[in-house]
C-alpha cells in the first residue's frame, strides 16, 4: 500500500499556480527527496500532503484513503508529521514541553480530569514523558531539555522541531528544508539523525532540501519540481545526468 500519495494535484494562489497537476507517490520505507529552485512549489506540496492546504483539484491519499474531508489536525492524528522551513516552535515552552505537544495525539486525558489531576493523569504524563526522554536522548539534547526554545541556537531548534515530529510516532515524516541555514557540522548531525530514524522506525521520509550533497547522499529517489510541475523523477544518479534537471538548476543560476 502506498503510504502517501498526491494524485494530479493542482493548487493556485490567485493567479499563481503553485502546483500544476502534480503526482507524487511515496513508497514504503523510502527516503524521497523533493528538490527544485526557489518558488518551485516544494513547501506548497508538503502543505498539501499534510492537509494544511486543500488542493483545487486532485487527491491526496494516505494509505489509499483520501484526506479531503479531514482537518489538518486529523491528518496529523492519522500519522502524518512534518517539520518546518524556518522555525515554528512554541517559543514560550521548554524543549520538553515542545516535544510533549507532539505526544498530544496519543494522550487521552479530558479537561475535567486535568482539573482534578487524578493520579492516573499524572501516570499518563509520566508515560509520555518517558517517550519524550527517549527522543531527547536520541537527538542528544539532554543538556537543554528544560531551556526555553526561544533562547536556543538555530541548529538546536531544528533538532527540537524534529523531536516534536518524532514524538507523534508518525507513519510518515515530511521535512521542509531541515538543513537550510546550518553549518556543515550541524548538517552532518541532522543527516545522521534522519538516517537513524529510518533505520530504527522504518518510517518513510519526504525530504525537501536545497543542499545537493545532502540529497545525493541520503535520498533513495528524487522528484524534481519546477514552476509547480514535476519535471523529473528517479534515482540520484539518474537525476545528475538528466538534462531537464540541469537546465532548471542552471537556468536559475544564470
Amino acid at each position: 500500500m502506498t503510504p502517501l500519495a498526491a494524485r494530479d494535484v493542482t493548487l493556485r494562489f490567485g493567479g499563481v499556480i503553485a502546483l500544476d497537476r502534480v503526482t507524487v507517490e511515496v513508497r514504503p520505507d523510502e527516503l524521497l527527496a523533493i528538490i527544485g529552485p526557489n518558488g518551485a512549489g516544494k513547501t506548497s506540496l508538503l502543505n498539501v500532503l499534510s492537509g494544511f492546504y486543500r488542493p483545487h483539484s486532485g487527491q491526496v491519499e494516505l494509505e489509499g484513503e483520501t484526506i479531503r474531508s479531514l482537518r489538518v489536525d486529523q491528518v496529523a492524528r492519522s500519522g502524518v508529521a512534518r517539520t518546518f522551513q524556518g522555525t515554528h516552535l512554541f517559543a514560550g515552552q521548554t524543549v520538553v514541553e515542545n516535544i510533549l505537544v507532539g505526544r498530544d495525539v496519543h494522550m487521552r486525558t479530558n479537561i475535567l480530569q486535568a482539573f482534578c489531576y487524578f493520579p492516573w493523569v499524572a501516570r499518563e504524563e509520566d508515560e509520555h514523558r518517558r517517550a519524550v526522554e527517549e527522543i531527547i536522548e536520541f537527538l542528544e539534547i539532554e543538556s537543554i531539555r528544560n531551556e526555553r526554545v526561544g533562547t536556543l541556537g538555530y541548529g538546536l531548534r531544528k533538532r527540537v522541531d524534529l523531536g516534536r515530529a518524532l514524538a507523534q510516532e508518525p507513519r510518515i515524516l515530511l521535512m521542509d528544508e531541515p538543513m537550510a541555514g546550518m553549518n556543515s557540522e550541524e548538517k552532518e548531525d541532522l543527516a545522521r539523525f534522519i538516517l537513524d530514524v529510518r533505520e530504527a522506525r522504518k518510517t518513510p521520509v519526504v525530504l525537501v532540501e536545497h543542499d545537493m550533497g545532502v540529497v545525493m547522499d541520503l535520498a533513495d529517489r528524487i522528484v524534481v519540481l519546477d514552476f509547480g510541475r514535476v519535471i523529473a523523477e528517479g534515482t540520484p544518479a539518474e537525476m545528475q545526468r538528466n538534462p531537464d534537471v540541469i537546465r532548471a538548476y542552471l537556468g536559475e543560476a544564470q
Partner: protein, 350 residues
C-alpha cells in the same frame, strides 16, 4: 532552574509544583495564615479579602484564556455576571444548595463563554477583543430587557444566603471561608489544567497556531475550550459574588471591570497562575488603599471637594497600572523569577 542540590530523579518530580521541603513548608504556612486571617485582622479587611478571593478565581480563569491560550477576552465580567445571575435565580427559585448552584453557575457562564470561544476560531487579536466586548453588551441587554420577573431587570435581584446544614453563611468571616475553599480548589484545578496536555495545547495555539494544527492540535476546539474554562471560572466567581453581596445587578459587571481583570493579569504576569494571584492582590490592594484614603483626603483638604478626589481616584489607579506596564511590562512574576534565579546562582553568575 532548580536550587543547587535539588535534582529530579523522577518525571513526576520534574513536573511537580513544589520541589523542595522548604517550598512545601512555605505553602503550609501560607495556607495556615490564610485560614487564621479572620483571627488576625478586623472585619473590614476580611471583606476586602473576600473580594480579593473572588477576583482571584475570575482572574485565574482569565489567565488561562488570555495568558495561556492567547485569546483576548474583554468579556470576563459579563461571564461573571452570567454566573452571578444563575446563582441568584437558582438559589431564589429552586432553593438548591450552594454546593450545586456554584458549579452550575460555572457551567452556565461556560456555555455563554463557549459561544464567544467559537468566534475566536475565526478571528484574532483586535477583532476578537471587539467581539468579546459584545459579550458585555449582550449580557447587559439581556438582563435589562428580559421580563422584569425573570432577572429583576434594572432593579437587580436579591439572593438568599448560602446555608450549610442549617447554618447561614452570611457573616464576612463565614463567607471568607467559603471563598477561601473555593479559591483553593479552583487554583489547584488551574495548576492541573496548565501542566496537562491542555495547558501545553493552549500555549501551542497562542505561540503558533499553524504549527499547533499541523502537530495534531485541534485549534478551534482548543480556543473554544480556553474560553469555556475561563468563563467557568468567571461563573464560579460570580456565584460567590452573589452570595457575598446577596444582591446582583448589571452594573456590577461592566466592561470597566473586565478591563481591570485584564490589568491584573498584565501586572501579575501573563501566562502564570501565580502571576494572576499576585496581580489580583496588588491591584485590589491599591484600589482599596485609594478608596479608603479618598474620603480622608476629601475631609482633611476640604477645598479640593469630594468630586475631584473621587474622580482622581480612578485616574490615579490607571496611572499606577500604566506605571507598572512601563517599568515591568512582563509583570511581577517575571521580575520574581529573575530575582529567584539570581539568588540561586549567587555568588556565581553563570
Amino acid at each position: 532552574m532548580d536550587p543547587a542540590g535539588v535534582f529530579a530523579v523522577r518525571y513526576s518530580q520534574d513536573r511537580a509544583l513544589l520541589r523542595t521541603r522548604k517550598q512545601w513548608f512555605a505553602l503550609a504556612v501560607f495556607l495556615a495564615a490564610l485560614a487564621a486571617l479572620p483571627l488576625l485582622v478586623g472585619p473590614r479587611l476580611i471583606a476586602v479579602a473576600n473580594i480579593m478571593l473572588i477576583s482571584a478565581i475570575v482572574v485565574v480563569g482569565l489567565q488561562i484564556c488570555t495568558g495561556y491560550a492567547g485569546q483576548v477576552n474583554l468579556g470576563q465580567a459579563a461571564f461573571m455576571g452570567v454566573g452571578a445571575y444563575t446563582a441568584a435565580v437558582l438559589a431564589e427559585r429552586t432553593g438548591l444548595s450552594f454546593l450545586l448552584t456554584i458549579p452550575l453557575s460555572g457551567v452556565a457562564a461556560a456555555g455563554f463563554g463557549f459561544v464567544f470561544g467559537l468566534s475566536a476560531a475565526r478571528i484574532k487579536g483586535f477583532y476578537l477583543a471587539l467581539t468579546t466586548i459584545a459579550a458585555q453588551f449582550v449580557f447587559h441587554f439581556a438582563v435589562l430587557n428580559l421580563p422584569g420577573s425573570w432577572l429583576g431587570g434594572s432593579n437587580g435581584a436579591t439572593v438568599p444566603p448560602a446555608t450549610l446544614f442549617g447554618y447561614r453563611i452570611a457573616s464576612d468571616t463565614s463567607l471568607y471561608y467559603l471563598c477561601l475553599v473555593c479559591t483553593v480548589i479552583m487554583v489547584y484545578g488551574a495548576f492541573g489544567i496548565v501542566r496537562s496536555r491542555f495547558g501545553r495545547a493552549f500555549i501551542a495555539v497562542r505561540d503558533d497556531d499553524v504549527a499547533a494544527g499541523i502537530m495534531g492540535i485541534n485549534v478551534v476546539a482548543t480556543k473554544a475550550t480556553a474560553f469555556l474554562v475561563g468563563a467557568f471560572y468567571a461563573g464560579v466567581g460570580g456565584a460567590l459574588w452573589a452570595y457575598m453581596l446577596r444582591f446582583v445587578a448589571v452594573d456590577q459587571f461592566t466592561l470597566f471591570n473586565s478591563v481591570f481583570f485584564i490589568a491584573m493579569i498584565i501586572v501579575g504576569g501573563m501566562g502564570s497562575v501565580v502571576g494572576a494571584l499576585i496581580g489580583v492582590f496588588v491591584i485590589r490592594a491599591i484600589q482599596e488603599l485609594i478608596t479608603s484614603l479618598g474620603p480622608e483626603l476629601a475631609a482633611s483638604v476640604p477645598f479640593l471637594g469630594g468630586d475631584i478626589v473621587f474622580a482622581s481616584m480612578n485616574v490615579f489607579l490607571g496611572g499606577a497600572i500604566a506605571l507598572f506596564l512601563i517599568i515591568e511590562p512582563k509583570g511581577l512574576m517575571h521580575r520574581w523569577n529573575i530575582v529567584k534565579a539570581g539568588y540561586r546562582l549567587w555568588p556565581f553568575p553563570y
